[in-house]
């Protein structure tokens, strides 16, 4: 170095002319060379990707937590007497002015009043009113013992009845007399509910429990007297008697000359016979896409959410209602390349990792009217296949004195995290058509790489399978993310939804390519309804 220093006539502080080639342009070429020769580790957008991943993980955790809490609430051992053997999943609001007709729904139907009036502080009730406090009536369809809600509310109702009914007439059907058979029966029912909750085949057992309760002479299926705010009904019932009316059988209550309350009660066996196993199945485990079918079968029933029933005593928060209307489950979605399956199970790290295709995603959706639904899909591992075509327009020139190299690449596949939203239009029964948009982050890619020399146009290097990571791809060959659209036909079968369709990239997969690669793939989907 010292020897050469004597030939250096320039100094760093000298005034030099402005170069004809701007420094920015020269650095751009220099950076390309450095990216080829000395690639750096983390790319600049890695922090951003980390944030997205963190947010996604938080979302997944939240969904899981909500599901866990809700499931735990379903198994709350403090079940009320009134609802002990029952669970509601269908509610019909009755018009007080019209004749009240209780439709023949499968399972136990109970008419009971909310405790709004009972809880009113300082309000004195007559013995009749105390024993039969106020409506509006709710008709409960209780075929599904596996589902929950209203337990705490029901408990409150029961407690109050027990406390206040000491003033009421000592009718054996009136709950609340401490040592009456009803009380013991209630306890018994509560116990049977616990045992049912632990049962494997809760649906069948629940039906049998209902039958047992139904056949009991002390059935809790009792309708009480008039509504506090329905004078005509109160008066009519008050005239006809202050005793609760057992509606375990079909009957009719004449309120006035014009108004009649007609009710009917079917046993679960009757309901099953009348409705058929299909309807029972739909009631007990109906998926949202079959709700319209349920409504068609039960024309008088307006199927609403479960939370509507619980509003009888305490209105749930809006967020709780929304959460309970959201369905969720697991999702398997695989892309099928039209360009061939040779590299299907070859991982982007150039090893065989077929198991990654089995990693499920999750979905959460909300059922809209007529069985249509909108859902969000999160897939931790999703593959997108390239066209297997060597992209000669991606040329990296490495100048030397007399010749240069040209690097060509062909994208075989890329993999990464996928987030999507989809709308499913129900077209016929369980058959629906889905249209979705997805955002996929490209984490890794599998390429074929070829280097040609301009000297005699010879291939100096060829790698059929080269792994490229987004972290090490400083040349910007892979785009960090791209958008795709998907169209699929889905068929709902029990708790599983099967689908097939196509996936089309909307934006380019490659950042440095002049060939706008947007390879179309087929796709097969399996969705499992967990809740």
């Amino acid at each position: 170095m010292d020897e050469k220093d004597r030939h250096i006539r320039q100094q760093p502080g000298d005034a030099y002319p402005t170069p004809e080639v701007p420094a920015e342009s020269a650095w751009s070429g220099m950076r390309d060379m450095l990216d080829q020769e000395m690639p750096v580790g983390p790319s600049s957008n890695s922090n951003w990707i980390k944030i997205i991943k963190l947010l996604s993980a938080l979302c997944l955790t939240s969904i899981g937590l909500i599901y866990f809490i809700q499931k735990k609430a379903n198994h709350d051992p403090h079940k009320g007497v009134t609802d002990a053997p029952t669970t509601l999943n269908a509610v019909t609001k009755l018009n007080k002015k019209d004749a009240i007709v209780i439709p023949k729904a499968p399972g136990i139907i109970s008419i009971k009043e909310p405790d709004t009036e009972i809880n009113a502080p300082g309000k004195k009730h007559s013995p009749e009113e105390t024993a039969h406090p106020g409506p509006p009536f709710l008709v409960r369809d209780s075929t599904d013992p596996g589902k929950k809600t209203g337990n705490r509310n029901s408990e409150r109702i029961t407690t109050l009845k027990m406390r206040t009914s000491t003033k009421a007439s000592p009718d054996p059907h009136v709950p609340g007399q401490p040592d009456t058979p009803y009380h013991s029966k209630a306890r018994q029912t509560n116990e049977t509910t616990k045992s049912r909750n632990t049962s494997d085949d809760s649906r069948k057992l629940g039906l049998s429990e209902n039958s047992r309760v139904q056949n009991s002479p002390l059935t809790p299926i009792v309708t009480y007297g008039p509504a506090e705010n329905n004078k005509s009904l109160k008066n009519t019932i008050g005239e006809s008697g202050t005793h609760p009316i057992d509606i375990t059988k079909k009957g009719k209550i004449t309120l006035s000359r014009e108004k009649t309350v007609t009710f009917s009660k079917t046993t679960p066996a009757d309901a099953a016979h009348e409705a058929g196993p299909f309807l029972i199945s739909m009631l007990t485990s109906r998926p949202a896409v079959m709700t319209h079918e349920l409504e068609r079968k039960l024309k008088r029933l307006s199927i609403q959410s479960i939370q509507t029933a619980t509003t009888s005593s305490k209105r749930p928060s809006k967020s709780t209602t929304i959460l309970n209307n959201i369905h969720a489950g697991l999702l398997w979605n695989v892309n099928l390349p039209f360009s061939g399956y040779n590299n299907y199970f070859r991982g982007t790290n150039n090893t065989t990792d077929f198991y990654k295709t089995l990693i499920p995603g999750i979905w959460a959706g909300k059922t809209l009217s007529s069985g249509n639904e909108i859902l969000i899909k999160v897939k931790p591992y999703s593959q997108q296949f390239g066209s297997n075509r060597m992209d000669t327009s991606l040329t990296t020139v490495r100048d030397t004195a007399t010749y240069y190299y040209t690097t060509s690449r062909g994208l075989l596949k890329s993999s990464g995290f996928n987030l999507g939203i989809q709308y499913n239009q129900n077209v016929y029964n369980g058959l629906s058509v889905g249209l979705g948009a997805n955002l996929q982050w490209q984490k890794n890619a599998l390429l074929s790489n070829q280097v040609k020399s301009s000297r005699r146009n010879t291939v100096v290097d060829y790698e059929p399978f080269m792994s490229l990571s987004q972290k090490t791809d400083t040349s910007g060959y892979l785009k960090p993310y791209f958008f795709t659209g998907n169209l699929e036909v889905l068929y709902a079968w029990k708790k599983v939804q099967l689908g097939a369709g196509i996936t089309v990239p909307i934006t380019r997969l490659l950042g440095r390519s002049y060939e706008k690669q947007k390879p179309v793939s087929g796709q097969v989907t399996v969705r499992w309804w967990v809740r």
């Binding site: 170095m1 010292d2 050469k4 220093d5 004597r6 030939h7 250096i8 006539r9 320039q10 100094q11 760093p12 000298d14 005034a15 030099y16 002319p17 402005t18 170069p19 004809e20 080639v21 420094a23 020269a26 650095w27 070429g29 220099m30 950076r31 060379m33 450095l34 020769e37 000395m38 750096v40 100048d399 030397t400 004195a401 007399t402 400083t474």
Partner: protein, 177 residues
């Protein structure tokens, strides 16, 4: 100085930002150096970037106790230029004349503005420009030029003579002839 040390450390860690700052810092001087030997911008940039690539690859070998970083980079880039010149030997067709006399090693460009220097150099053929630059601007001896460019001594002398003939103006102006 501390900032300069940070740049050096960053370059050793292969950090693009540090490499970029180093590149920008020496770019005008190194571009001027390359322009002494090449007329074409593409050639200048090729020589410059090839040299800087060597700098970044071997930055760990730089020893501050043996010289300044500028001189180290300067030498590497000049060598990069000479490498290209050697590889283009076929292009540098010269006439071999033994009788060409050696020229006095006086720098006719002393005190001349860079733009003027490049103006004169642009009048010379490529090989003559290289020899002229090495001899007058870089201070190389004829033997060193022979070694670095793989030219014979007579050829170098001829190029020097040729440059004197073509640059009579500047010689006359500076009374160096």
């Amino acid at each position: 100085m501390e900032e300069f040390q940070n740049i050096l450390e960053g370059c050793k860690r292969n950090e693009r930002k540090s490499q970029e700052r180093l590149y920008y810092q020496f770019y005008p001087a190194m571009f001027t150096l390359c322009k002494k030997f090449f007329q074409d911008e593409h050639d200048i940039q090729t020589a410059l970037n090839n040299g800087m690539m060597r700098v970044f690859k071997n930055i760990g070998q730089f020893d501050a106790s043996r010289g300044s970083l500028f001189n180290w980079i300067y030498t590497i880039i000049r060598n990069s230029c000479l490498t290209i010149i050697r590889d283009r030997k076929v292009d540098a067709v010269v006439e071999y004349r033994e009788e060409v006399p050696d020229t006095a090693k006086q720098n006719p460009f002393d005190g001349t503005d860079w733009s003027e220097i490049f103006g004169y150099l642009s009048k010379l053929p490529p090989a003559t420009r290289v020899v002229c630059s090495l001899y007058y601007l870089e201070g190389f001896s004829i033997k060193e030029i022979c070694d670095d460019t793989s030219m014979k001594e007579g050829t170098v002398k001829w190029h020097l003579n040729e440059s004197r003939n073509r640059l009579k103006d500047i010689w006359a102006k500076n009374n160096k002839i």
